[in-house]
């Protein structure tokens, strides 16, 4: 059986053409065969998966499916708490940690009938990676195992691309969903801040952390987001507002959409590769041809967004990890501990200035989008680099394309725009106004279904 999308698997399950138990067994077989080369999984929960799948199949036979996620094989980034199942943050600090309660979003996906296959690799505490001094090795990119997945949702990116799972959870503080989505050639959406709960997800930086899904297509991300979004009184950032049908606009095309290209981000501020820029240009040509209005826009330099986001992220991370770092510094991997130690150089006024400037940047982005539906940038500067070439300070040296949407909290999705000279995926990032995920997914879906990229999986995925 070839790897299915969630949408296709859901259709076949609803039509009783596909057994959730057989699907789970197929996926477990792929994990056993391929994951030793990828390290995407920290733990495979085979018994739990088969129990979940049998329950889904019973509902299928009784005509009582809970929706389109019922019977769908997924896995969780290992910062999502899972009751009775080890949750480590890929760190020695939590090597034997077994939570007593599921994260809010883990419960929601379980209630929707998903089949949990296990826990996925991450950069340590969603920040320190790729690291080779942790209890488990880093995930590898299925397109070329010598190359980086990006992070921090590295295991989810690798597992989806290799077809080990149909979708999975990610978290995104500065780009940790969109980065691995880009380098692994899949789709990943960081929803609007507050749309999905963070309760039970090990935090990195409270005011920048977002929880979201990753999958092969934008449509699948929409289906998974449907099962994640919603208010949670335990998360102070959670927004209590009606949840739309995230796939309702799919298929409507892009005619009339107003699209702004933040060209200076990826041409001047941090010049992306030829293939990345060509992919974005071709996508904009496609959108224009389909009736969208496309124009360039100018914002503050990407470095302004990056500096504000990075400073706040480091300070908030140290507020959380400081007590452990003071007592057990060497129990963290080198990348995490050295990066977060930089918080020692942040003064109180620095932090206040960062929050003031953040407010200005939020206002700038909102004003720029007043007459736009979508803005476009790169997701990553190019194809995945070799994993052994990624250095400790690499993510600080040039501004990130993803951080602006963590700073502002606006929703953003990364989708594949083809392949570069090295044969590895390149991507673009689409962002929208707060709570306009259906429109964002509509534009992403229109592009994906018109292009050939979703038909090609990594060679190892078969």
């Amino acid at each position: 059986m070839s790897v299915l999308t969630i949408a296709e698997a859901a259709r076949r399950i609803a039509a009783k053409q596909l057994s959730p138990v057989e699907l789970a067994k197929t996926q477990l077989g792929r994990i056993h065969r391929l994951d030793p080369q990828l390290n995407a999984f920290l733990l495979v929960t085979e018994e739990r998966a088969l129990t979940d799948a049998k329950a889904a199949e019973a509902r299928q036979m009784a005509g009582a499916l809970r929706g389109r996620l019922d019977g769908i094989p997924i896995a969780h980034k290992d910062i999502y708490n899972t009751a009775g199942i080890r949750t480590t943050a890929h760190s020695k600090q939590l090597e034997h940690n077994v939570p007593t309660r599921d994260a809010h979003t883990v419960s929601k996906w379980a209630d929707a009938g998903t089949v949990m296959l296990g826990k996925l690799a991450t950069h340590e505490f969603a920040f320190g990676g790729p690291s080779f001094d942790l209890p488990w090795p880093p995930a590898r990119n299925p397109w070329n195992r010598d190359h980086f997945t990006a992070g921090s949702s590295s295991g989810t990116g690798a597992a989806v691309a290799a077809g080990l799972i149909l979708g999975g959870t990610g978290s995104d503080t500065g780009g940790s969903i969109r980065g691995p989505a880009a380098l692994c050639g899949i789709a990943g959406i960081k929803p609007t801040y507050g749309l999905s709960s963070r309760t039970g997800i090990l935090p990195l930086a409270f005011s920048l952390d977002h929880a979201g899904p990753m999958a092969w297509t934008a449509e699948d991300c929409g289906l998974l987001l449907q099962g994640m979004a919603g208010p949670d009184p335990e998360d102070p950032a959670s927004v209590d507002r009606p949840i739309p049908d995230f796939t309702a606009e799919l298929g409507r095309g892009v005619k009339g959409l107003r699209i702004g290209v933040i060209r200076h981000f990826f041409e001047q501020d941090h010049r992306a590769s030829d293939a990345t820029r060509a992919g974005i240009d071709a996508a904009m040509d496609f959108y224009a041809k389909e009736g969208a209005e496309v124009r360039d826009i100018t914002l503050s330099p990407a470095a302004d967004y990056h500096a504000v986001g990075y400073l706040i992220m480091i300070a908030e991370a140290f507020a959380l990890h400081g007590p452990w770092m003071r007592e057990h510094f060497m129990d963290y991997g080198e990348l995490f501990r050295d990066r977060v130690s930089l918080a020692a150089t942040v003064s109180g006024p620095d932090m206040i200035q960062a929050t003031r400037r953040r407010r200005l940047l939020c206002r700038e982005m909102a004003a720029a989008m007043e007459n736009l539906d979508i803005v476009v940038s790169a997701s990553q500067p190019g194809e995945a680099p070799r994993i052994d070439s990624v250095e400790k300070w690499t993510n600080m040296e040039k501004p990130s394309f993803t951080m602006p949407f963590n700073v502002t909290g606006f929703p953003a999705i990364s989708i594949c725009t083809g392949f570069g000279e090295g044969g590895l995926p390149v991507a673009m990032q689409l962002a929208g106004k707060p709570f306009t995920e259906p429109t964002l997914l509509r534009a992403a879906h229109a592009y994906e279904t018109a292009m050939p990229w979703r038909a090609k999986r990594p060679a190892m995925a078969g």
Partner: protein
Amino acid sequence: MSTPPIDEAELNAMLRRAGLVLTPQQVKAILPGAEIFQRMIARVNAPLPREAEPAPTFKAEQG
């Protein structure tokens, strides 16, 4: 945008003030990152207009 210099001794003092008592080798390993980070801090501290004030607000009813 000026970048305040930072050296190993100053970084070590800052780390100690934050409760991180590290070996000289550990401090040395952090120094290159601190130099890049100082440039980010300088960027954040560039002069702001007065209307940038309302960011750190508190609303009691948020609980």
